[in-house]
Symmetry: C2
Subunit: 117 residues, 2 copies
Amino acid sequence: MSEAGGRVPSQLRKGVLEHCVLALLRNGPRYGVEILAELSAVSVMTTSQGTIYPLLSRLRREGLVDTELRESPSGPPRRYYTLTPVGRATLTEFTQAWPLFRDAVDHFLNDPQGESA
Amino acid sequence: MSEAGGRVPSQLRKGVLEHCVLALLRNGPRYGVEILAELSAVSVMTTSQGTIYPLLSRLRREGLVDTELRESPSGPPRRYYTLTPVGRATLTEFTQAWPLFRDAVDHFLNDPQGESA
DNA sequence: CCAGGAACCATGCAATGCAAGATAGCTGCG
DNA sequence: CGCAGCTATCTTGCATTGCATGGTTCCTGG
């Protein structure tokens, strides 16, 4: 309630979450719950296990990430995800495409008359 | 292919197109084909009739826009869309939420180490 | 052994962009 | 008038993907 201004429609995340996960993996291998936590550290990206596990499975199926099961110091084993060359290339593509999209949205939101420069 | 750098995944548009249309309508009433043209003027927002007509129907059904059928100086009648107060409020909400989302994505894409500025 | 938590995964649903195609009105031409 | 071609609107079916829900496995502590 009263978060009208801060609420981000979940549809916005479509097609973006995937690339944010790839971006996280640039920093080194991560496992599911860890990825979930790092995403949720930025509130508008907060999501759930029901979102990222299917997402991670898809990334693996499509060859964008490799996985490796490692024992945990305490608890069940963790599945670590690592970028493959294909995953890295996909991330690079997105990194180039994103500013175009972002600026286009800014254009429509900020340029009512098409005036400006 | 080979457009890797400029290609914007269509999933990116999800939930955004709707608000870009609302933003367009701030400039006054528009009809379908006209909206399609103004969106396509920004290449990454190029879309098709099969996308905007269902979208416009939904906006009308949800009370975000009003419609009015007007004769065309030449051709079939056109259905003009106008923002309702609800539509205007929805647009305002999105205008506030968008920068949060945009900056979050920028954060993940540009901040590999979390080193910040 | 049992309780509880950490970690993983699968299933079904909802929202929405899109391709393809159908319909209807207007204009110009013969 | 009759037809071609354009403008404009709308419908249907599909693919993608975020999400809620629930279930399973492994480890630790008592």
